[in-house]
């Protein structure tokens, strides 16, 4: 009976993880946290999400202002650094983008999904800068993190 319950529990847990919707880069950012983040982080993330939408709409000035505000509230908001990196990338400033992405990578240590996104973006930046080898290295890192 105990073994039966144990097997059922394992099966249940596995099926939950299998059927659980995989988060994407467009999902609410707070969902990526394993534990409830601090109020400052929650508030900061809401601004980051708005910045994300503005970047998609190519409203870069609005996005930049929102990211500044988000960092004012929580200067360790990894997502804000990532989207700032994305913004610099879209404004064709790959060097600046890579600089800020290094910061994001440090803060995303516990989030391989987003760490992979950072490497993917920095790979694109390296290509723009003419560093093919470095671009390939980062692309492989991104891939490895996704598989993990």
């Amino acid at each position: 009976m105990k073994i039966c319950i144990l097997c059922l529990s394992v099966f249940f847990a596995l099926s939950c993880s299998l059927f659980q919707k995989k988060l994407t880069r467009d999902d609410p950012l707070v969902l990526f946290y394993k534990t409830d983040p601090l109020p400052e982080t929650v508030a900061s993330l809401k601004l980051t999400e708005r910045a994300r939408e503005n970047i998609k709409d190519k409203k870069y000035s609005k996005a930049l202002a929102l990211l500044n505000q988000s960092l004012e509230i929580d200067p360790d908001n990894a997502f804000s650094y990532y989207f700032l990196g994305l913004l610099y990338h879209e404004k064709n400033e790959p060097k600046r983008s890579n600089g800020i992405l290094e910061r994001a990578k440090l803060l995303f240590r516990e989030m391989p999904f987003w760490l992979s996104a950072c490497y993917e973006l920095s790979s694109q930046n390296w290509l723009k800068l003419g560093y093919g080898h470095q671009a390939q290295e980062d692309a492989l890192k991104a891939e490895a993190l996704v598989k993990h």
């Binding site: 109020p39 508030a43 809401k46 990211l67 960092l71 600089g99 800020i100 290094e102």
Partner: protein, 774 residues
Amino acid sequence: MKRFFILLGMLAIILLMGAVIYLFHLTSVVQQRFSELRWDIPSKVFSESTHLFPGVQIQSLNLKSKLDRLGYRFVTSPSMRPGEYFIDSSNSPSQEIWILYLKDFDYPTRSFKGFPVRWTVKQGMLVSLEKVALKGSQALDMVELEPELISEFFRGIRSDREIAKLEALPAHLLNAIVVIEDARFLEHSGIDPKGILRAFLTNLKSGKIVQGGSTLTQQLVKNFFLTQKRSYSRKINEALMALIVESKYSKDVILEAYINEVYMGQRGSTSIHGMKKAAQFYFSKSLDRLTLSECAILGGMIQNPGLHSPFKNPKKTIQRRNIVLQKMKEHQLILPAEYQEALAEALHPSKVPSVKNSAPYFVDHVRQELLERYPENVILTQGLRIFTSLDIDLQLYANQAMEITLAALEKIHVQELTVPQNAASLQGALIAVQPQTGWIKALVGGKNYEQSQFNRVTQAKRQVGSLFKPLVFLTAFERLPQKYTLSTLLKDEPFVYEYDHHQWEPQNYEEKYYEEVSLRTALELSINIPTAKVALDVGIPHIAAQAKKMGITSYLPQVPSLALGSAEVSPLEMAGAYSTLANGGFYVPPYAIKHVVSPDGAILTERAPEAKKVVSEQSTYLITQALQGVLERGSGIGVRMFGFNAVAAGKTGTTNDYVDAWFAGYTSQLVAVSWVGFDQEKRLGLTGAQAALPLWTRFMLQTTRGKKQASFQVPEKIISVEIDPRTAQLATRRCPERLTEVFLKGTEPKTFCERHSAPVLQKKIAPEFRKDAD
């Protein structure tokens, strides 16, 4: 007789020609002024704004002081007027309900229309936030309280205005202005003969100029071109120019120029011009939100803004308003019902916000940054809006800390200040930077700005002394990690170093020598000789290169004494360098300006943080660990004795002959660098711990009050190992002293302490009975 008439005729012709030439001259003057209707509009410098959201600690925001500075008026009953707030604490002593009507504000990328918000505070924390509306309230994630106006850049005359298009003015306001100042504006051609005649007769009766019969056009001409002096010649010129203006330009152009030019009162020494600025100044409203009553008040004020000021003479304001409303009703510009409603409306002027420049050195620094991009003329006249990173609360703490500390030093240490008259000229500098973003949060460049505008944070370069030592060890950890760890034992014996026909013999403070110390102890106690030895081993050029990567752009002489801080560097540069330590190895350039916006809302400059990885996270962590020790048991122990208990790291700095006193320290959220000394580089006679440390600590005590403090993040590949500090080897049970030290993985000691194990006994005990290394 004939000759007389000829002469008369010639005279008439000459006079006529003169009049024509004069008219041409006046026309040219008018055309030049009207061809580009421009006014000198001062540029404005704003602080950082404040964000309110569920979970924020209200106490840490100093909200009441902030609202007071922003010109929000506290009222004793709930209000629905912009610029007012109410607090209800009747339910429970630990719970407050705030209702605040936000003001309109033009942020860099959006124009915000104010609305009432309500939030609940329980035990000091904001727990709920909502927008108050007639049809129920709506929960909000966040609310932004507008930034504070720190200062304005004027050219010559201090006048402030905001330009408005004619179509932006509400009809009631236009009607109020016209009906009270020039009811026949649309009918006359610049001058109103009836009005002039009436005024002339009145002035003749009284024997002096007591009344004007000026039209709006004449008033505009007077303000644009002429003096305020009441005289017949001025009146004649005014009339002629008014006719010229009306002949050349439409009524719309004239009216638009008028509503932007008209004088509407004073804010201290600054004159307020234009209806848009007046609406904001007196009622905290944008033009489209003015009520009929408020429109009538503004229209009525034109005659005498001082006399009819809602701030100074509310009774006279109401009287004048009623006259305007009466006239509007008589001219059928408003309905009787509107008239009655406006009459019944009480006067609610906004509170005058204070524009006290509490950060003059910071503003000067902003001006310098602006001059790198914009001509001075543009900054002084084009009405730029400059949004900065300054935190006014932190700035006020910094001002206070500077004042108190220098006064205390002058009082307590007057004997050490070798020349008595030096006490009056003791100077200080303090800068605070958020390390993750580089934003300058507070900046005090001297003791008293009015006495000296020299900015000792950005412009003064002084020898940094021991403040430089962390960079020496940082370079050692980066370049020689296997050789140098925090536990590495270093000889502390005097030596002489020869180079380039020079001899260098570093000395310890008070010539005290320890024989052998750990690297950690050398840094904690700021011991010169071991530092010098490490520096020579690592290489001065490498240390200089590392310093440059961390933002020290001043010239760094490639001499051994660089290791002990012989280079002259500014506090701003040191703040950047120490931010790198606080930031896990990322250099983030400190800066002040986030946005520059033109008067019509175009973004001219926008800036977000930049970062560059210049040193490993692990090396900076090791240094931070040692600098934490400085505060716990080293030269910076005074910080703890002052009562500052937050997790922090810091370093004292004292230069040769006690000329400069420094302290640089940081938490995970803020870096601050302080300096104390004399401008003339005279002997201060005090150490960094005695002079600069109190300044830093007083400031940081205030900034961390009521705020959660985070620890420094431990990076990957950092391990903790228990060692014997005397041997720098793994500790055994026999070691009298044991210390948990941090290491970069792979650099930790591999062997157990030989001094305190029992190797002879070890050999005698059979292997199968050995339990451990003992």
